[in-house]
């Protein structure tokens, strides 16, 4: 069974087609990478799949629910981390997690346990009562991820989760992603870093709103006759 199935998904803003009839499937527990230059349509596609935007035409099913008619059910079953850091800076780490956990109706006592467990895993339990504004960016990103999966969603959408953070934090971040995936969470992640693309089970490369290439990193490298995803991307862009 597929976690995500996009069928001719399209979004137009006036004359501009941001996402142009894309079709793809993502299996349960898979880490699926969305690659592409800026403006290729990755964020718009994610926003449609997470219920922030309505498609102009086409549809998709997320965790078995239709994005056109069952967005409420979808929202309960997904986690989302936006390109822009979007936790409340003037609330503490704990308050942020408590706020979102409560919105997802996690019972009070269980919520507290989950927050403490999750902070311990991030080695941030000492920062529980620190204002989010005053912690470093790398930690913020890890915190945003932990908050996005606090309600144990089936699918997590990550929109450039590692942009602007240092390589060490990036590696730690991917550890978190693998951890989540090993628990059966489906991950859809967009990135600019080609080395990160190698970590994905499968990737797609988008350009001008369309999916131009799709497959496992190995398949794509073989197809293009190169050794790294970086080369795949460069060769693809030149073509």
């Amino acid at each position: 069974m597929y976690s995500i199935e996009a069928n001719q998904l399209t979004k137009k803003f006036g004359d501009f087609t941001a996402v142009d009839h894309i079709c793809f499937e993502v299996r349960e527990g898979e880490i699926f990478g969305f690659l592409g230059a800026n403006g290729a349509g990755k964020t718009t596609a994610i926003k449609m799949m997470s219920g922030l935007l309505l498609p102009t035409s086409g549809t998709a099913t997320i965790a078995g629910y239709d994005i056109l008619t069952q967005s409420k059910l979808i929202k309960r079953n997904i986690g989302y981390m936006s390109q822009k850091f979007s936790l409340y800076g003037d609330l503490t780490v704990f308050e942020n997690m408590q706020l979102f956990g409560t919105i997802y109706k996690i019972p009070r006592k269980e919520l507290k346990e989950r927050i403490m467990d999750s902070l311990r895993e991030l080695e941030m339990d000492a920062q529980a009562n620190t204002l989010v504004d005053s912690i470093p960016l790398g930690w913020k990103q890890k915190l945003a991820f932990a908050t996005a999966i606090l309600h144990r969603p089936k699918i997590v959408f990550l929109d450039e989760p590692t942009s602007g953070v240092d390589p060490i934090v990036r590696r730690e971040f991917w550890k978190l992603i693998y951890q989540a995936a090993s628990k059966g969470v489906t991950i859809l992640v967009t990135t600019h870093y080609m080395d990160e693309a190698e970590y994905c089970n499968r990737i797609s490369i988008m350009a001008e709103g369309q999916i131009k290439l799709i497959g496992t990193p190995e398949e794509l490298k073989m197809q293009m006759g190169v050794d790294t995803i970086n080369d795949v991307f460069v060769k693809f862009v030149k073509r």
Binding site: I103, K105, L131
Partner: protein
């Protein structure tokens, strides 16, 4: 329920951690209260008056003399020509000019009509209106005595019937201000025909504001501005700020319902607004000595409804704006229109018909009516029922609009 509670908690935490917002909420109203009532004061304490006496009779001298006994008028003496007077008025040396025609005394004794010209500097039309009123009062008073002394006794019986006619100005705004709208030219000439020989005494009683104290009008007005600012301004900035920093996106991907989210924002600011209003009432009582004449629960109840209108408006503006700057401009624009049309500082009676029509859309004009009626007059519910109904309807409409537009904006 738990969702709304956690949202309320979140909003309160944010308010109390935001020094700028806190100072807007606490300092700004206090400063407004301390400064406004003392500046927005239309009271007239001194009037410089000069005379041109073309008659030089005993009566004209007596009248001029009677101005000296008034506390308000400061006599700048006799002038010889109109040109001289004009010059003095231009340089603000005099506020008023009283001109007696030649053969004034003669006309009085012959019982012929005669005219005293009173010229006022009407750059400040309120002042001009009120000061010519004072002049009329003094000349009228003199003429009365004169008439009493010189009327044949057979006429006095007929006159006694008209003897005590009172003009009760129900409030400051109806009596004094209506005159104001009539005299907007720079130097209007007002003519006074001495009320010879009919004996009418006019005594003014200013109901609900017996000392003609402007603070009684201004202070409740500031209360209105306070509630409006908290309600509209703070909320208009709040939601759009979440848009700007992107947190609203994180909320929008959750299964939260839109009305829950808006309610979670409204309740905290509604409580804050009510607290501000309460603080305002306390200041009003202990600093300005104005206490609420009517029912306090009624006043609080209608304020609660008015706040809902303003909160809804704030959120509506917030959800149609792209950023804080935009919504700030919209609020500022609306706020100025509301204040100018509402009658907070200027009476609405003199406004043209179209302004009155616009005022049917102006929640502030209904609310200031309620405030004046309950605080100053001590009115009961019956006399503010119309305003209450209008404000309630406005609250429903604008809040529905806010929820709908917020939904629209997040697509």
């Amino acid at each position: 329920m738990r969702t709304i509670l956690i949202l309320i908690k979140k909003e309160f935490l944010q308010v109390f951690r935001n020094p700028l917002l806190l100072s807007i909420l606490v300092v700004a109203p206090m400063v407004e209260f301390m400064i406004f009532p003392f500046c927005a004061d239309y009271e007239i304490k001194v009037l410089n008056i000069a005379f041109i006496d073309n008659d030089r009779s005993q009566i004209s001298k007596d009248i001029i003399h009677s101005f000296n006994s008034s506390e308000i008028f400061v006599s700048k003496g006799l002038l010889t020509s109109k040109k001289d007077a004009d010059e003095k008025m231009k340089h603000d040396k005099i506020d008023l000019l009283v001109e007696f025609p030649s053969h004034f005394e003669e006309a009085l004794y012959k019982n012929e009509p005669t005219v005293i010209a009173v010229t006022a500097n009407a750059i400040n039309s309120v002042k001009a209106g009120i000061s010519t009123g004072y002049v009329q009062e003094i000349i009228g008073g003199y003429m009365q005595d004169f008439a009493a002394a010189h009327t044949p006794s057979n006429m006095s019986a007929a006159m006694a019937q008209q003897a005590s006619m009172q003009s009760n100005n129900a409030s400051f705004s109806q009596g004094e201000e209506r005159r104001r709208s009539n005299s907007t030219t720079v130097m209007p000439e007002q003519t006074i025909t001495p009320p010879m020989p009919i004996h009418i005494s006019i005594s003014n009683i200013y109901w609900y504001n017996e000392q003609m104290n402007y603070k009684n009008l201004i202070v409740p007005g500031i209360l209105v501005i306070l509630v409006t600012l908290i309600g509209c301004y703070v909320t208009a900035l709040n939601l759009v700020r979440e848009k700007e920093i992107g947190t609203i996106e994180q909320v929008n991907v959750t299964p939260i319902r839109r009305w829950q989210f808006l309610l979670g924002k409204m309740i905290p600011f509604w409580l804050l607004g009510m607290a501000e209003f309460g603080a305002g009432l306390i200041i009003m009582k202990f600093v300005f000595g104005i206490s609420v004449q009517g029912s306090l629960p009624l006043l609080l109840g209608i304020t609660a409804i008015y706040l809902l209108v303003m909160l809804g408006l704030g959120f509506f503006i917030s959800s149609v704006s792209e950023n804080q700057l935009q919504s700030m401009f919209i609020v500022l624009f609306l706020f100025i229109v509301f204040v100018l049309l509402s009658g907070v500082f200027t009476p609405t009676e003199g406004m043209p018909g179209w302004a009155h029509k616009i005022n049917y859309l102006n929640p502030m004009s209904f609310y200031i009516e309620v405030i004046k009626k309950i605080i100053l007059k001590g009115s009961e519910f019956e006399s503010v029922m119309k305003e209450t109904i209008v404000l309630s309807v406005m609250a429903v409409i604008i809040n529905t609009g806010a929820v709908l537009s917020y939904r629209e904006a997040s697509k």
